[in-house]
Amino acid sequence: MEIPVLENLEVVYKKPETLTDTPFHYCPGCGHGVAHRVLMEVIDELGIQEETIGVAPVGCSVFAYHYMNIDMQQAAHGRASAAATGIKRVLPEKYVFSYQGDGDLAAIGTAETIHTVNRGENILMVFINNAIYGMTGGQMAPTSLCGQVTSTTPYGRDPAKIGFPLKITELIAQLPGAYFVARHAVHTPNAVRKLKKALRSAFEYQKLNKGTCFIEIVSNCPSGWKLSPLESQKWIEENMFPMYPLGDIKVPGKNITAPSTENN
């Protein structure tokens, strides 16, 4: 059909300036693209492109510097928060963030993650949890769900053999250095709006030197999960959210839920 041409049009949404024109290398439907874009939108809106340094370690998003038009460092697997610490300690007036996947942040880099947060480094840690290793071809992640079939758990993740999914976000929220901890998603327009608000708060807190802000983004991996993008969104809601519920986990001025004391 012919769609009539409208007059008097105003742009109400366009790609952020701080995102380069390089098309993403990510698979169709991958949440990385949305997360990148929203992060750059926040940097645009806060006008901090010149003051922001990002760190992206090994994983699908290691090439984030192709897309984010800011000064960036690529870090070794698991060491993004250590590199970000190094940057922030010599440039304390700048905004520094790391952008890490689940394997990076919650497996090989667990020590760096915990100690960076425990020191209360004034950085933002963005944690993309898609419960799988995307770049290496769909192996089990520390956050893979029980029973989840991956290329290294061909019979499903067996917690008796390999342990339960690691809820690292709840874990680090216990640390005094963590100032703002939240879990968001990018699968619906509303989820994206909430994520953007949280990212904005995180940068504002960083300006105030409040401690580590940590935002988990429950995302998808259609290729690794062997689902279509639309099926993967459904899978997130049905399988990921029961294990990784969305919302604030630690917010300034409010007490977090105390750990269970049943066994004490």
């Binding site: 008097n8 049009l9 949404y13 169709p28 991958c30 990385h32 949305v34 259609p222």
Partner: protein
């Protein structure tokens, strides 16, 4: 009714269909043609678009620009 429209960069769209599912007006669909990357791409199929930006928010390839018709200012 608020009227809007979208521009979808068909050359970078990967046809993931997330925008199609996010559109409350059912105004988007996959093309019959394929783009140079070999993907079918999302395109506007009717004039029901309100410029709500939902499609752009979930687009993983930052391929969508959204426009809305400006309100006609009343003469003072």
């Amino acid at each position: 009714m608020i009227r809007g429209t979208v521009f979808i960069a068909s050359d970078i769209c990967k046809g993931c269909e997330l925008c199609i599912a996010a559109c409350p007006q059912h105004s988007l669909s996959l093309s019959r043609q394929i783009n140079p990357k070999g993907y079918k791409y999302a395109e506007l199929i009717n004039d029901e678009c309100t410029g709500c930006i939902n499609c752009a928010l979930v687009c993983p390839d930052a391929a969508i620009t959204v426009y809305r018709q400006a309100k006609v200012k009343k003469a003072v």
